[in-house]
């Protein structure tokens, strides 16, 4: 297997792609949004449960997608737990920068999370796959902003 491909499909990605964490509905979700990438037909729903003081208590997702989009959604549900809305926003900005190679990179306070997410940095060399990696994140952001639907066209 070529090294390029190994960069894209790291073991962690394959593992989360095969056995995604938190892939289920969330009965008592306070927010949810539908995400869709119309170009490839991927669809998912992200559920969030916010505590009364606006801290993310739980995140889950459902849907179908490629290994990259599934792994990214799975990792996202893990790193987002316990984050305040402001931290979630900052993490989203940093993840977006990681995946696209452009934009904000102030990771103060998020070092551990960004370390975990680093496995997804390989997508930046594959422009058509960036949307796979960011779909769940855009959907979470839409849910938190009370938008019902998001499309990464």
């Amino acid at each position: 297997m070529s090294d390029d491909l190994r960069d894209l499909y790291q073991e962690v990605i394959l593992d989360h792609g095969r056995h995604p964490r938190n892939k289920h509905t969330l009965e008592h979700a306070s927010h949810l949004a539908h995400g869709e990438n119309p170009l490839c037909g991927d669809k998912l729903i992200v559920y969030v449960k916010l505590s009364p003081d606006n801290v993310i208590e739980e995140v889950s997702f459902e849907g179908q997608g490629c290994a990259i989009s599934t792994a990214s959604a799975s990792l996202m549900t893990e790193v987002m737990v316990g984050k305040s809305l402001a931290e979630a926003e900052k993490l989203f900005g940093n993840f977006h920068a990681l995946a696209t190679g452009e934009g904000e990179t102030d990771i103060t306070g998020l070092e551990d999370d960004m370390d975990r997410l680093e496995v997804l940095a390989g997508v930046r060399d594959y422009p058509v796959r960036v949307k796979c990696a960011t779909l769940a994140w855009h959907t979470l952001s839409a849910a938190l902003h009370d938008q019902q639907k998001v499309s990464t066209e």
Binding site: M1, S2, D4, L5, L8, Y9, L14, G17, R18, L39, C40, G41, D42, K43, Q64, G65, C66, A67, I68, T70, Y126, R129, C132
Partner: protein, 411 residues
């Protein structure tokens, strides 16, 4: 039993397509996406260049030599296409940008003039978005009813179910000649006969058909036939609409502008006769010549031989892929052209295409502009390999090897 054509000049054909001998990222090209767009032989590339180098000027009305030469070549290209489709007159051949524009032309011009509220248009569940959306415009604008023939489990279309949708209110039947996703060859002769029995006109989307088999519009009594140059080994930016003369004559112009008029004053404009009426503005001049060169090229090899070669590739690919565990071919109709759509139960089509790419194998993954069809089969997408006149069994072996690579990684 298929007789194998051992004289099929595969080596010569491959040598005619310069891109096929190139390597990309250190891997020889295995191009299995001709259904999306076909590669071009030197004969096409050179003809387009030759027009620019030797006889280029804007066509029509030019008094000078070059304009006359360019006009002559353009109209000669029209005659080449006329002969290719078996049309009665060259003026029944309208040059457009592509299949999509050809279909939009008919929906917009014929549809707006002749369809009324409550009239019905019948399409099939196999259609490409370009043979769905233009008709939906008429649903919104005129209150026309769109009826869809359901797709069978094997990807075929049942003539009984089709016939059951036809009524005296059916005005247009618009169907793919060959499905771009599944390769299904539709029973168009019977469909046309049944449509004509209720007085409906038939438009066939031939985008996936003209490169695989000979089409005779008169023999089939087709009312409208649309195809693109670039899928027929010709240039992008040029397509064809065939229409029966009396229908095209009865239709209003699609776009207004230069070339499509007889005379213009601020009070009244009269339109040019066919085909100019439907060719407003400067057309794709060099591309028309390139398209004619593409038609000449496939005709010189012979569509029957190309078809036999591709059938052999399809049979081989189907057998090899069916041996792989966890692989399911979507679209198994008995009458199929050289397209294999498949899904793997352990990997998403996008991941499949990515791994294939790293092996130098170019296939397409996605909904192939046929989302309703994906919904019908309850899948988000498929991986699709398609074969053209230049593909080989060795390339199908590379395809199978690439599936094994995906298996290694994801299973």
């Amino acid at each position: 039993m298929t007789v194998i054509d051992r004289t099929y000049p595969i080596e010569q054909i491959r040598a005619d397509f310069p891109i096929l001998s190139k390597s990309f990222k250190g891997k020889p090209l295995v191009y299995l996406d001709s259904t999306a767009s076909a590669m071009k032989p030197s004969q096409v590339i050179n003809e387009e260049s030759r027009v620019y180098e030797e006889e280029y000027a804007n066509i029509h009305r030019g008094v000078y030599y070059l304009s006359a030469k360019a006009t002559e070549r353009y109209e000669q290209s029209r005659k080449t296409v006329q002969k290719f489709l078996g049309a009665k007159h060259a003026r029944e051949i309208i040059f457009t940008r592509n299949t999509t524009e050809s279909i939009n032309l008919v929906a917009s011009s014929y549809g707006r003039k002749f369809l009324r509220e409550g009239d019905e248009i019948v399409i099939t569940g196999l259609e490409h978005h370009s043979n769905i959306v233009p008709w939906q415009f008429l649903v919104e604008e005129k209150g026309v009813v769109l009826k869809v023939v359901p797709v069978e489990e094997d990807g075929s279309i049942s003539l009984e179910k089709y016939a059951a949708l036809l009524t005296p209110r059916t005005k247009i039947v618009a169907a793919a000649h060959i499905s771009n996703v599944l390769g299904t060859i539709l029973p168009v002769a019977e469909m046309i006969r049944l449509a004509h029995d209720v007085g409906a006109k038939v438009l066939l989307d031939g985008a996936q058909a003209v490169m695989h088999q000979a089409v005779d519009v008169q023999e089939l009594d087709i009312d409208f036939y649309a195809f693109s140059g670039h899928k027929l080994y010709g240039p992008t930016g040029i397509g064809v609409l065939y229409g029966k003369e009396e229908l095209l004559n009865a239709m209003p112009p699609y776009q207004g502008g230069g070339d499509m008029i007889a005379s213009v004053s601020f009070e009244k404009t009269t339109y040019a006769p066919l085909p100019a009426k439907f060719e407003a503005g400067t057309p794709a001049i060099a591309q028309a010549a390139g398209l004619a060169a593409a038609v000449d090229y496939v005709t010189s090899i012979g569509l029957d031989r190309i078809r036999a070669h591709e059938d052999e590739l399809l049979a081989y690919a189907t057998t090899r892929l069916n041996q792989l565990e966890g692989l399911r071919i979507i679209g198994t109709a008995t009458k199929k052209a050289a397209v294999v759509s498949f899904v793997l139960d352990y990997a998403h089509p996008h991941d499949i295409a990515q791994i294939f790419d790293s092996a130098g194998v170019s296939i397409r993954a996605g909904h192939h502009c046929a989302q309703p069809l994906m919904t019908h089969f309850k899948i988000p997408a498929t991986a699709r390999a398609s074969f053209g006149m230049y593909n080989t069994k060795a390339e199908i072996d590379a395809l199978v090897a690439a599936v094994r690579k995906v298996e290694e990684m994801f299973r």
